[in-house]
């Protein structure tokens, strides 16, 4: 997939959606996104963490340092109530965008 901004734009929605299935940490998030998107979304750590911190400051997610099964320190992120609400809004917003884009990019098949 193309430019950096395009990769980062839906990050908030994607992260919220991923955390719906339980708490997770950076590396795992990156791996999941890559796998599910079939390699189309290649996130890096340096891109991900600032977004996570931003979302944490907005109160959408919370974080906690825990010891991993391999006995290493890891920071786990999980969804908050506000995050859950935000996820619904984000989903609606992206669906709108999706529909609009489909119509705009492929006008012949579009139905009014």
């Amino acid at each position: 997939m193309g430019s950096k901004d395009l990769i980062a734009a839906p990050a908030k929605a994607v992260i919220l959606s991923l955390l719906l299935s339980g708490e997770n940490y950076g590396y795992q998030i990156i791996k999941r996104v890559r796998r599910v998107s079939g390699g189309a979304l290649q996130w890096s750590h340096t891109m991900l963490y600032p977004v996570l911190h931003q979302m944490e400051r907005e109160g959408l997610i919370r974080s906690e340092w825990k010891t991993s099964p391999e006995n290493r320190m890891r920071k786990y992120y999980s969804l908050t109530e506000r995050g859950l609400a935000e996820l619904a809004e984000e989903k609606a917003r992206w669906r709108e965008v999706q529909t609009a884009l489909r119509k705009l990019l492929d006008p012949m098949t579009a139905v009014d």
């Binding site: 590396y27 750590h45 977004v51 391999e70």
Partner: protein, 887 residues
């Protein structure tokens, strides 16, 4: 190869993260956790740890990037400046910079003086040179069609050299105009040499220069008219165009047009009034009369190709290319004169002032020299460089004084760039203070400098935008040049070291650099010193060299054809000898064709005809080497005999020249070309006819000096004033109508005049040498003071341990002297080469030898010693208790 250690690698990677001011510790730890996850996953997939680590790092993205991203995530405003970046501009700091700069100047008056005085002198020299160069380059640029006007320079090639004559054969320019369509117009010009006056009623002037030119003069050159028509003003042969100031001198406020001026005895009607000739013109005159009159006054034969009387100018049409036209014109000249060794050069009008070194150039104006100009410009640049070096040297030497300031500024957030900007700003402030001082210096020195150099420069010339810009530019540039190194050096101080007090300043490397700069300074100074000593030696040599004739106490004058005056002179007892001859010190005119028995075909030797009378030998105390000189008692001498000089005799081939027959083609006093056959009756010992720049040429003497208006009188040493009085009285009796002025010159003065330009060079080079020495020793004083201060404690301890004051002075001085000696060793060979190439310009010259080098070295050592001693002695005599009390 060492084994890859994952933990070490991660440690290193974390270090790079920590350098990033935007990353907080928690964020870094999180990134580390991510990295470890990546590595762990890759290793469990079978990768070796090293490869896994590298891939993981790449997957993380660069550290700087992460800092920016983290900051973006945190900021509240889109354009916010990260807190770890200083603001671009802090007005309060500018004021602080100013205060600190002024405080430094106030508190360290000595150093400020050294810096400002040195830079001011350097800038003053540079501005002076700019004024000079712009004046010299501006010569002859005011003519509207100036870029298509060329002067015809005649080149005669003979076997060993080519002679360039600023005149062209009289009929040449008109013939070229007739033959070649690209020659649009021509004009011939020369001036009278003050030998006939201009009169109006009972006013007479011999000093106003009469220009003699073709009527096309005012259409070719641009001299604006106040009255009259430039196109027709000179059409009538007895018309005269005068400058405004000449008109005012003779006619006051009356209208000059139509007034009659008398030139020699003939009436000329004023047909035009022009503005005064600008000073930057190589054509200088007070009035112009038509060239045709020269047939009457100087017997100029306008159809004779042998005659050379005028400088000739041609205007080419716009399409003509001088490089293509020149050979065509040359061919026409050699065809017309039937001489293959003659050619023409087209000299652009704008080159005449600076690039003329020809025989018979116009001699009533002060010609420039491109070489001298370059020499002086380099000297001025060198002095400015010396001043800049002083600045650098002192600023870095005293850097430890400012280390704390640098430390504090850095701790409170200043970046290197800010400090560099601050220090550069300081040096630029100093350089502009110096510029102000430089202008004051110029104001004071311009009048004496003008009289020394024969120029008319003024500070007003600086007001032209180009020059003013250049002056400010040079000041700015030297401020930046002088300040750059210290600024970079100071700004590099590490605050922790400085503020902890472990910093001492002036590490070893810096000291070496400072010494290098002192060596460079004294090298330049030694170069100047050597140069001035050699120039002086050559000038002394020329003044005292035995010329082969005795020119002391010989009065030479141009006399009217009045027998009564000559008779009065010849019979007076106070006069030892009188000879009607072309005297030594006068350039002999055009070379003559000489054919002798046994002359090889193709031999291009030129002989210079000299007109003498039998008294020549006694008057000038010349000597014969062979045969005899002319005698009054032998009638045939005047018509049948010639004497040649030794060089001429040698040119005639082996065997004695005496008794040989030769045929001489030369111009007679009446301006006719005369071919006659003579017998060589004697060979005269060589003497210098002109300047020692020129080699002695073959000369052929004929006994017809009495037909020319030269008179040379040897007077008694004891009766010079009375004799001059007698001559003037006799003149006034013989020439009661004041048609000719009574003027005379001493022959030795005339020889001195050959070297006037060289004496100017010596004087100006002398000034530069003094300034260079001044600047270099200023620097040395400053450095010595600094080093003495640095070593106060060392000196105190040495004294306590029993060192003598003398020993301590020696210790300090010895080091400086070693540098100065090294400087001399480097500079003197270069100076030797440069002096050698200057001396090449003289056919007779001194060998620089070892003495000037020793003298220059000794002198620069003495100056260095004097500059260093004062501070060294003060330091050595200080009470050691004062130095050590605080230990």
């Amino acid at each position: 190869m060492t084994k890859f250690d994952l933990e070490l690698a991660i440690e290193d990677w974390k270090k790079t993260l920590r350098r990033n001011p935007a990353l907080e510790d928690g964020q870094a730890a999180e990134l580390e956790a991510g990295l470890r996850d990546e590595v762990g996953a890759l290793v469990s997939n079978g990768a070796d740890p090293e490869t896994a680590f590298r891939e993981a790092v790449t997957a993380m993205g660069p550290a700087a990037d992460s800092g920016r991203e983290f900051f973006k995530a945190k900021r509240t405003r889109r354009s916010a400046r990260p807190s770890w970046q200083p603001p671009r501009f802090v007005p309060a700091l500018v004021w602080s910079y100013f205060q600190v700069a002024l405080r430094k100047i106030r508190r360290q008056k000595g150093y400020a003086f050294i810096n400002i005085a040195g830079l001011a002198v350097g800038l003053a020299c540079s501005i002076l040179m700019m004024l000079w160069i712009s004046g010299e380059k501006g010569f002859d640029r005011f003519h509207l069609s100036g870029d298509s006007i060329y002067r015809l320079v005649t080149e005669t090639r003979n076997e060993n050299a080519s002679i360039l004559d600023a005149r062209a054969p009289t009929p040449c320019a008109p013939a070229l105009k007739d033959e070649f369509p690209e020659v649009e117009d021509f004009c011939r010009f020369r001036t009278n040499n003050g030998n006939y006056g201009i009169r109006f009623g009972d006013q007479v002037s011999f000093t106003d220069v009469i220009g003699i030119a073709d009527p096309s003069f005012f259409t070719m050159f641009t001299f604006p008219f106040v009255k009259g028509d430039p196109k027709t003003a000179l059409n009538d042969s007895r018309s005269i165009v005068v400058t405004e100031s000449l008109a005012r001198k003779f006619f006051g406020d009356e209208d000059p047009m139509g007034k009659i001026l008398t030139v020699t005895r003939d009436p000329y009607t004023v047909t035009g009034v022009m503005r005064d000739v600008p000073a930057n013109s190589h054509l200088q005159f007070a009035c112009i009369i038509p060239a045709v009159n020269m047939h009457e006054y100087h017997h100029v034969d306008f159809a004779n190709w042998q005659s050379r009387f005028f400088s000739s100018y041609v205007r080419l049409n716009r399409e003509a290319r001088p490089a293509e036209t020149e050979p065509k014109l040359s061919k026409a000249l050699s065809r017309n004169m039937n001489k293959p060794n003659l050619s023409l050069r087209l000299q652009p009008l704008e080159d005449i002032h600076l690039k003329s070194d020809f025989a018979f150039d116009l001699d009533n104006y002060n010609q420039g020299s491109a070489a001298t100009l370059t020499l002086f410009a380099l000297a001025a640049a060198a002095i400015l460089l010396l001043a800049c070096i002083n600045f650098m040297n002192l600023a870095t030497a005293r850097s430890s004084n400012r280390a704390k300031e640098v430390g504090m500024r850095k701790v409170t957030g200043a970046q290197r760039v800010d400090l560099i900007r601050q220090f550069l700003g300081e040096s630029v402030i100093l350089s502009f203070l110096s510029l102000a001082a430089a202008i004051l210096i110029l104001w004071a020195v311009l009048p004496p400098f003008n009289s020394l150099s024969g120029k008319t420069m003024s500070l007003a010339g600086l007001l032209r935008p180009g020059l003013l810009g250049a002056a400010v530019g040079v000041a700015l540039l030297s401020g930046l040049l002088a300040g750059f190194y210290p600024a970079v050096y100071l700004a590099a101080f590490e605050p922790a070291r400085v503020l902890k007090g472990t910093f001492t300043g002036g590490e070893r490397g810096r000291a070496v650099l400072r010494k290098g700069l002192v060596v460079l300074q004294f090298g330049l100074t030694a170069f100047f010193l050597f140069g001035i000593i050699v120039v002086d030696k050559q000038l002394r040599f020329m003044r005292t060299k035995n010329l082969g004739v005795d020119i002391q106490r010989v009065v030479t004058m141009t006399v009217p054809p009045r027998r009564s005056f000559l008779d009065a002179v010849r019979t007076d007892a106070r006069i030892l000898n009188a000879s009607q001859s072309i005297p030594p010190g006068t350039s002999l005119r055009t070379a003559a064709d000489v054919v002798w028995e046994g002359k090889q075909p193709g031999d291009l030797t030129s002989f210079y005809p000299s007109k003498v009378d039998p008294e020549f030998l006694d008057t000038f105390r010349a000597e014969m080497t062979e045969g005899r000189f002319f005698s009054r008692n032998i009638q045939t001498d005047q018509t049948d005999a010639v004497v040649v000089n030794e060089t001429g005799a040698k040119a005639m081939g082996p065997g004695s020249a005496v008794g040989r027959r030769l045929t001489l083609t030369a111009m007679s006093a009446q301006g006719e070309i005369d071919t006659r056959t003579y017998t060589v009756i004697g060979v005269m010992k060589d003497f210098h006819q002109t300047s020692l720049r020129q080699a002695i040429e073959p000369i052929i003497f004929t006994d017809d000096g009495n037909q020319f208006p030269y008179l040379n009188i040897r007077v008694r040493a004891t009766a010079i004033p009375e004799t001059l009085k007698f001559l003037e009285d006799a003149w006034n009796t013989a020439v009661p109508d004041r048609l000719f002025p009574f003027t005379y010159a001493f022959l030795d003065d005339r020889f001195d005049a050959f070297y006037q330009q060289d004496r100017r060079t010596r004087a100006i080079l002398g000034i530069f040498t003094i300034l260079a020495l001044f600047t270099a020793s200023l620097g040395l004083v400053g450095l010595a003071a600094f080093i003495a201060e640095k070593r106060t404690k060392e000196i105190g301890i040495r004294k306590v341990l029993g060192a003598s004051s003398r020993g301590i002075v020696l210790m300090q001085v010895r080091e400086f002297l070693a540098w100065v000696l090294a400087a001399n060793a480097l500079a003197l060979p270069a100076a030797y080469l440069a002096a050698g190439s200057w001396l090449q310009g003289f056919a007779y010259r001194v060998e620089p030898g070892i003495a000037p080098a020793l003298l220059a070295a000794a002198f620069s050592l003495i100056i260095a010693l004097l500059s260093v001693s004062y501070k060294a002695i003060r330091a050595a005599q200080a009470n050691p208790a004062d130095a050590l009390r605080f230990e």
